[in-house]
């Protein structure tokens, strides 16, 4: 972080991933539109008046100090947060134009369109094959040939096919942490989602696995919209197009990643990315 700051603007720009011209990006359609979202855990006000338009085929990074509500926000996007007892929300989140809090909106359908990769690798205690085939199977695909194809395609998509193709029937728990995380990414790809949510997907990984996952995110954004929570500033700068800075449940700043890291509008953003607090 300090290193990042000590560089001149020009160098930083070079370090930041070569993003396409921001002007063209704003033309991309909005996938997720969050409007005045509030969320309470019991009496604890965890998200406050969040407004965030998230665009198609972009990587949106969410950064902020521990406990500021990043995980809560990302879990709200696929309504996983409702698994916690006593959660209340207000405001709306439009996914492709429809409010996901609508009584008629089916969470199962939403989660089929929106895949999630968790902070800790969480494969099922099943074979690698069954892990990947889990999603397609619950959605009714039984044909072995089709499943085989989905498994291969998803594993290739998650850049782990070559490592596991000879042992698809071994338990996923026999893999290393980094491999498990890529299995989890492959598993999310297997439901052919529209959006992929990632909550600190590399926090438990070594630098090489981290790099692989980061490269993967870059490839995936061609076809998916990705929202990624990260504690790693360099990572956010490297892989994302847009960055949202959260603090105490509020969005302090949301802009192009270049802008956030080079010329943040808010003093608190600058303090955070330069490592002065958090």
């Amino acid at each position: 972080m300090v290193q990042l700051m000590n560089r001149t603007d020009k160098e930083t720009q070079a370090a930041v991933s070569p993003v396409e011209a921001p002007i063209r990006e704003t033309a991309k359609p909005v996938v997720y539109d969050t409007k005045q979202l509030n969320l309470w855990y019991g009496s604890h006000h965890a998200l406050k008046n969040i407004d965030l338009p998230i665009r198609e085929n972009e990587v949106t990074a969410i950064i902020g100090p521990s406990g500021c509500g990043k995980s809560t926000y990302i879990k709200t996007l696929n309504r996983m947060v409702e698994l916690v007892d006593g959660v209340r929300t207000s405001g709306e989140i439009l996914y492709r134009g429809r409010n996901i809090f609508d009584a008629k909106y089916s969470v199962e359908e939403l989660r089929t369109r929106v895949g999630m990769v968790f902070q800790k690798p969480n494969p099922f205690p099943k074979s690698i094959y069954d892990n990947i085939a889990y999603g397609p199977r619950i959605h009714g695909i039984k044909n072995k040939k089709i499943l085989d194809e989905i498994v291969e395609q998803s594993l290739r998509g998650a850049a782990i096919w070559d490592e596991v193709k000879d042992r698809l029937s071994t338990n996923a728990y026999s893999l290393s942490g980094g491999q498990q995380q890529r299995i989890c990414i492959a598993r999310a790809l297997a439901i052919e989602p529209d959006v992929i949510l990632m909550d600190e997907p590399t926090s438990a990984l070594d630098p090489i696995s981290t790099l692989k996952v980061e490269e993967l995110v870059q490839e995936l954004k061609e076809n998916y919209s990705i929202i990624i929570v990260t504690h790693n500033m360099q990572q956010a700068a490297r892989i994302s197009d847009k960055t949202a800075f959260f603090l105490n449940g509020e969005v302090i700043e949301f802009d192009d990643t270049n802008k956030i890291f080079q010329n943040p509008a808010d003093q608190r953003t600058e303090d955070y990315i330069s490592g002065r607090f958090g």
Binding site: L83, L110, R111, M116, N122, P125
Partner: protein, 303 residues
């Protein structure tokens, strides 16, 4: 963080190595005293078990013949057999196992996966554990009132099976709840996160991981039902039966009933017959417990 802020050498020392080593001997002695004490406690249990085994085996082994398994009850010790009781106990299990397991596992799934955490459900959970401590004779009275009389099932296998199911239900529920709770939340989240419904998640993720624990608990509970006598006496199960039941509405007798009857007869030889019966009952229980252990070892999943 704080440690690096302090100057080196400024750290106060609270532990004096000299007094630590001075106290070391005393600590070691205390340790070995308790070790011996606990070993003795174990020894007493083993001793009692050993005496029990020896007495029963030496008394009963002589009566364990092929005839013993083929004869019905008799007034003459040398003609007495365990056939009716053994078959009766198997019939009883055939009712108790499906009824109690279906009911118990279903309740556990509801309480752990579906029920919201509120006061009513907490109250239910607490009372199920309490039910496990209710004496079996009380369940016998309940069975007598409801199944034997109100539902007019008489002293049939069905009535006894339902009563025994009620008796072991709390144990099965608690065991199944624990097994279900031991399935890590993060694998459930993984399933929900892909759009699985609650039912799909339960069937495909929760139960496969919980089933070894559930089965182990259930089998141990079932072996309790095999050995229980009090509820059977209360609902009026006979001991002397000269036929085999042909359906769940027939009356029957069970191993512990038969043993109890033999043991209270005055003739010395019937004590030996009772011992032979106990050997059969213990073999039955041992078999069930080994199946439980086998299942646990074979299917246990690690995370």
């Amino acid at each position: 963080m704080r440690i690096t802020e302090q100057q080196p050498g400024v750290n106060k020392r609270f532990i004096d190595p000299a007094s630590v080593s001075k106290r070391m001997d005393g600590r070691k002695i205390t340790n070995s005293v308790f070790k011996t004490l606990f070993f003795m406690a174990t020894l007493v249990a083993l001793l009692v078990l050993g005496i029990l085994f020896y007495r029963i085996l030496s008394q009963g082994i002589g009566f364990l013949s092929a005839d013993f398994f083929q004869n019905f009850a008799s007034r003459f010790p040398e003609k007495a057999g365990i056939k009716a009781a053994l078959v009766g106990s198997l019939w009883l299990m055939a009712v108790v196992a499906p009824v109690s397991m279906f009911h118990g596992i279903g309740t556990a799934i509801y309480l752990e996966e579906y029920a919201k955490k509120n006061r009513v459900n907490d109250f239910i959970r607490m009372n199920i554990s309490n039910l496990a401590g209710v004496p079996s004779v009380v369940f016998g009275l309940l069975g007598l009132t409801i199944f034997v009389r109100a539902l007019a099932l008489g002293n049939s296998i069905l009535a006894a099976g339902f009563t025994m199911s009620l008796l072991i239900l709390p144990v099965i529920i608690v065991a199944a709840q624990e097994a279900i709770r031991a399935v890590p939340q993060h694998v459930r989240e993984a399933s929900y996160g892909m759009g699985a419904t609650k039912w799909q998640t339960i069937v495909r993720v929760v139960l496969p991981s919980a089933i070894p624990g559930i089965l182990t608990g259930s089998i141990l509970a079932l072996s309790r039902a095999v050995g229980e006598t009090a509820p059977l006496i209360v609902i009026g199960v006979p001991v002397i039966i000269q036929f085999l039941p042909s359906g769940v509405m027939d009356t029957f007798t069970a191993l512990p009933m038969q043993i109890y009857d033999w043991a209270k007869r005055p003739q010395a030889d019937f004590q030996k017959v009772a011992s032979a019966g106990i050997i059969v009952l213990m073999a039955f229980l041992l078999l069930m417990n080994s199946i439980a252990v086998l299942i646990r070892n074979k299917f246990q999943k690690r995370y």
